[in-house]
């Protein structure tokens, strides 16, 4: 017996999965660089969101064309992976189409037939996706943040899928034994004639080659995820689970601020009192976010989850009117900076060494932050429940509370609120004058 293919296969599988696991560990470590956030509320609602939005694709279909195509690719991805189980067993044990032997022919045929139909549908869908990106040039794929790597990344993923689906069909078409079964070869029977002039030996070689390239391709694709926007296929699930379940308009009240405000408002508090021992130990809290580690881990996970579809940006009033703000770029910048911080930690034996950079200014400009109307259109649109708005707010908090760097007009407005209890310079005592005015 010749065990070399089995050993080769096991090795490929080991390294493919091992390398992926290593990157996932890094991913989790990076996400954990974020602050803790309480996500223990409303468990039932959270499960419901995950099931509806991630598993059930409920938000993606709001835009019907790309939505339906996406559902096809998603269903194809999930269902065709059953076939990967067979491939893995065959590869490890040197069997050939093991499921055909253990399952009744009709069931095996039904399964493979479904996979074949799905793979053809996926092939068509990703081709339409490619056309939308590169021929029709839909605006959201051609915004300023979508050049170089992000643009190529989007296309590479489509090429990957095209090649993997084609290989699956070719593998079936050139499998004489499978074609002879004549059950489940719904699509591949029409591809088989293309190879009709070839000898059985040549066909076998093509079949084997397609089989090998297909499974190795899947392993390569698996490892491509970490470097790509395509991580959403995994992270969409936790992201929709951990996303806020509060009304979109509700912005969190900072507890550290509440403590100070309560003390200031307490008429019995002694302003000259020495801080108590225990409080003395506390590290002074930094308000808001100037870098990724000031954000919470759900926000950081959102950055890795973002698949750069740009639905947020295409509905952002600031972006639609030509401002530099793009909610998608906020997420992409957060991820890029987080990756940079992660690499910094890796190359400095587990400790971050100040690199003189931060998310604010080096990635996200103040102009972008101040252009936001907090309208929640981006949050509403995101098919995987990311909130770019929450990051914008944290960064504004840093600018205002740590840097006193609000635009002058906003400082005027805030001064008015502070002095007169209204954003305009009117006296609070005049607040009821409207009753007697004409």
């Amino acid at each position: 017996m010749n065990y070399i293919p089995n050993i080769l296969f096991a090795t490929a599988l080991f390294f493919g999965i091992g390398f992926f696991a290593k990157n996932i560990k890094k991913l989790v470590r990076n996400i954990r660089l974020g602050k803790t956030v309480d996500t223990s509320d409303n468990k039932a609602e959270r499960w419901k969101n995950m099931i509806n939005i991630a598993l059930g694709q409920s938000k993606i279909v709001r835009r019907p064309v790309s939505g339906v195509l996406h559902v096809i690719v998603y269903a194809g991805f999930v269902i065709i992976n059953i076939e990967v189980m067979e491939i893995v067993i065959d590869g490890l044990f040197g069997t050939h189409r093991i499921f055909a032997e253990v399952l009744p022919h009709s069931i095996y045929g039904f399964l493979i037939g479904s996979f074949e139909i799905l793979s053809l549908l996926v092939l068509v869908s990703v081709t339409v996706f490619w056309i939308r990106r590169n021929v029709i040039k839909i605006a959201r794929f051609w915004k300023s943040e979508m050049t170089s790597w992000p643009k190529n990344d989007g296309n590479y993923i489509l090429y990957f899928e095209m090649v993997l689906m084609s290989l699956f069909l070719i593998m079936n078409a050139t499998d004489l034994h499978f074609q002879a079964m004549d059950s489940g070869n719904l699509i591949s029977q029409f591809i088989a004639p293309l190879f009709s002039g070839l000898s059985d030996g040549t066909l076998h070689v093509i079949e084997r080659a397609a089989w090998w390239i297909h499974i190795v391709g899947i392993l390569v694709f698996l490892n491509y995820l970490y470097y790509s926007k395509h991580l959403h296929i995994l992270l969409a699930f936790p992201n929709t689970f951990y996303a806020s379940v509060k009304p979109k308009g509700e912005m969190n009240n900072l507890e550290a601020v509440t403590k100070e405000v309560m003390m200031m408002m307490d008429p019995n508090a002694d302003p000259f009192a020495m801080p108590e021992e225990a409080e003395d130990e506390e590290v002074p809290e930094k308000f808001g976010a100037s870098d990724v580690r000031d954000l919470n881990w759900v926000q950081l996970m959102g950055a890795y989850t973002c698949t750069e579809c740009g639905r947020c940006t295409s509905s952002c009033p600031a972006n639609l009117t030509g401002k530099t703000l793009s909610p998608r770029k906020i997420m992409m910048d957060t991820r890029d900076r987080l990756e940079e911080v992660g690499k910094n930690i890796d190359s400095n034996k587990g400790a971050f060494v100040d690199d003189g950079k931060q998310l604010l200014d080096d990635y996200i400009s103040r102009e972008e932050l101040w252009a936001c109307t907090t309208c929640n259109a981006c949050v509403e649109e995101c098919p995987v429940s990311i909130s770019p708005l929450s990051i914008i707010l944290e960064m504004r908090r840093y600018l205002v509370m740590e840097q006193s760097a609000a635009p002058a007009e906003l400082n005027n407005m805030m001064g008015n609120i502070e002095n007169n209890g209204a954003p305009w310079p009117y006296n609070q005592m005049d607040r009821l004058n409207w009753v007697n005015e004409n």
């Binding site: 979109k248 009240n253 639609l320 101040w370 805030m414 005592m429 009821l432």
Partner: protein
């Protein structure tokens, strides 16, 4: 109908040892902005006409802090919130209605964890409730044949998912609502939220309120209805920019209801 508004304050109710049915939170725009004051008065006219026992805080009311919070000034927001909550709780306020979605959102969602827990209604929700209770009846002659479109305020719509109350009120006028292409959860912001009202916009190729006004103009409306004083300002400016102010009015739902009943 006489123009003398009855606007009792909480202090007056308190002095008589009574509680109003509801507190009307006027808000800073509703108190000081000339256009918004008309909305405030229209809403009060409705309440007066059907004898709703309401009160205002009057000079004891202070900005909710919405714009400060969204600018990033959490300190100022919480100072405002805690001050307001102290007064509201001292008067044992249970129910609040406001014609400003920003006040509405803040009072409803951001005050509870600071100790201010109230039933909060946007005036469109409250008016709809009054109709359902049979207390408010809307005459249907005034706007017959008019084309009305509705601009969803972000802090009423997406932020709090109140989409139907304002639409039901427009339907009560006996007119057909003509929806803009972007409406309800896909509605475009007027450009005023997140404290943008108080600053010049960043460099771009147009102002947001102009883009939103263009959305509205595509429905060929006689009236652009909305439910927010800031949206009202932005849309009014947009209509002026398009030189359509002679043919298109920008009105709050409360103004529509009050005008329909000739109050």
């Amino acid at each position: 109908m006489n123009d003398i508004l009855k606007v009792p304050t909480m202090a007056e109710f308190m002095a008589e040892g009574k509680q109003p049915e509801i507190l009307f939170w006027v808000g800073s725009a509703g108190s000081f902005d000339d256009r918004a004051k008309k909305i405030t008065k229209s809403f009060v006219k409705i309440l007066n006409a059907i004898d709703v026992k309401f009160a205002v805080l009057g000079t004891e009311e202070s900005c909710t802090g919405d714009a400060a919070k969204r600018s990033g000034n959490e300190f100022l927001f919480q100072m405002q919130a805690v001050t307001n909550i102290e007064i509201l709780n001292a008067y044992e306020v249970k129910r609040i209605v406001t014609a400003c979605p920003h006040s509405y959102n803040t009072l409803k969602n951001e005050y509870p964890s600071l100790g201010g827990k109230y039933e909060v209604y946007h005036h469109t929700e409250y008016l709809k409730g009054l109709i359902e209770e049979g207390r408010l009846k809307v005459q249907q002659e005034a706007f017959k044949g008019k084309r009305i479109t509705f601009h969803d305020p972000c802090y009423l719509g997406r932020a709090n998912e109140v989409y139907e109350a304002p639409r039901d009120l427009i339907a009560s006028l006996g007119v057909d609502l003509i929806e803009m292409k972007r409406h309800k959860r896909t509605a475009l912001c007027c450009g005023a939220g997140g404290a943008q009202m108080f600053k010049e916009p960043e460099q771009g190729n147009m102002d947001i309120n102009i883009l939103r006004t263009e959305d509205a103009l595509k429905t060929d409306p006689n009236i652009i209805a909305t439910g927010c004083p800031y949206c009202n300002t932005m849309m009014t400016d947009g209509v002026k920019f398009k030189e359509k102010e002679d043919s298109i009015q920008v009105l709050d739902i409360a103004e529509l209801i009050a005008a329909s009943n000739k109050w």
